[in-house]
Amino acid sequence: MSFLALTGQILRKDFRIEVRSREGVNTLLFFSTLLVFLFRFAIGSTETQVREAAPGLLWLAFILTGLWGMARTFQVERENDCLEFLRLAPGDLGGLYLGKLIVGCCLMWATELAILAMFGLFFHLDMWPVIGSLIPVLILGTVGFVAIGTLFAAITANLKAREVMLPLLLFPLMVPILLAASRLTDLGLAGDSLWAEAHWLRLLIGFDVVFVVLGYLTFPFVMED
């Protein structure tokens, strides 16, 4: 089977499961609501404090919910040993990676938009006027995160210590994303052009390209045995 056909099959299946169970989206929404609440209590109450902390907190929220989201995309496959069946698919297993990557990104983007809305609501930040410049940051930051997250979720899916190992492996590699994306989000929230600090944009794009390619190339090795 061509790898794109495999990708398509995974996408159709996972979206159908998500639409039926809504387990992923529901849990992520609830979890992110809780996070936003906790953040509000943790930081000071003045408007400037909130505004200063917002970009970093946003990305912290994305990464924390994303951790669960990544685990979720492979949890579906762990049930009833489905992963074994997928590993037996003849053809390029890189297609499976691509499918899971897209599913993971969509799940994350939906959650991120919800978190943005909640920040707007609870932190009194007006998101509408700046949404246009935030969306590219969300797209670029999320692809890089999910590119590595999907791969590591596949690695840890069959480990007994997966709950600890996934963040342990994933978080240190997320430092460039966290720095670049929160800086760009800061620019976006201030209403400035992202091109004002184009080097951060280039870093994110480079990160995405490098890790999607590496993920695609190494994923079949993770699926062996």
Binding site: I17, D81, C82, L86, L88
Partner: protein
């Protein structure tokens, strides 16, 4: 119905061994299986049955030894091997939020391509799942789920069926279906390796009888060579007794 392999394909295994963390799960196993043969493996828990099936299905790599299915190497030519096997394992490989029909369509696609029109409906009918074919799998009983996995086996042409404890959760009716489809598979020249604790049913379906104990194949004989009571006695003596 599309199943039962291309003729003349055979399985050859030499010196197959698998070690897990310092113990041998399989040691030095030799095996030859020809068209139309069904080897039924008996053996106590931990004797290596599942490990053998996993290696034959290319899910595990052997620590030592080699094997070929229709000339394709079990390690180096996994792709080719994968197209020629059908696996019924402990896990059902089913998605609980999809219907049996959707699971079958997905399963067929994962095994390479879209099955012909009506194939899926025919498989559903064959295993008696018509009534629940469009219910979510999570609402099905474990026996019904087992039938779905049986139907999936019928969808693609596979030369070698690997059946790990296929009788688990099957009621008498479904057991009969399993026997029938396996017989059809044999008649069309397909091979099967089955691991089971179900002596009577396993004996009936076998063309060859095997006993695994402590990772070794200590018996591999044509079924005609012995009666059921004789086989049971032999098993008690060799596998559970002093078979060392």
């Amino acid at each position: 119905m599309a199943h039962g392999g291309t003729s003349g394909i055979s399985l050859h295994v030499r010196g197959l061994s698998k070690a897990f963390r310092g113990t041998w799960a399989l040691r030095g196993l030799d095996l030859d299986l020809g068209p139309g043969e069904t080897l039924v493996l008996f053996g106590p828990n931990g004797s290596g049955k599942t490990t053998l099936l996993k290696i034959l299905s290319t899910l595990l790599r052997p620590t030592r030894g080699t094997g070929t299915l229709g000339g394709a190497d079990l390690v180096r030519e996994r792709e080719k091997v994968r197209r020629r096997i059908g696996l019924l394992s402990h896990g059902s490989f089913l998605y609980e939020d999809l219907t049996p029909r959707e699971n079958l369509v997905f399963g067929a696609a994962m095994r390479g391509g879209r099955p012909a029109d009506g194939t899926i409906a025919a498989a559903i009918e064959r295993v008696g799942l018509e009534a629940v074919a469009d219910e979510r799998v999570q609402t099905l009983s474990s026996g019904m789920k087992r039938r779905v996995t049986l139907a999936r086996l019928l969808l693609n042409t596979a030369d070698l069926w690997l059946l790990d404890e296929p009788y688990t959760n099957l009621d008498r009716e479904a057991t009969k279906v399993l026997e029938e489809v396996l017989q059809e598979h044999q008649e069309q020249g397909g091979m099967a390796v089955m691991a089971t604790h179900n002596f009577l049913d396993g004996f009936k379906l076998a063309t060859r009888l095997g006993i695994l104990a402590r990772g070794r194949l200590i018996l591999d004989e044509p079924r005609e060579s012995m009666t059921f009571p004789a086989f049971q006695e032999l098993y008690t003596l060799r596998a559970e007794g002093g078979g060392r």
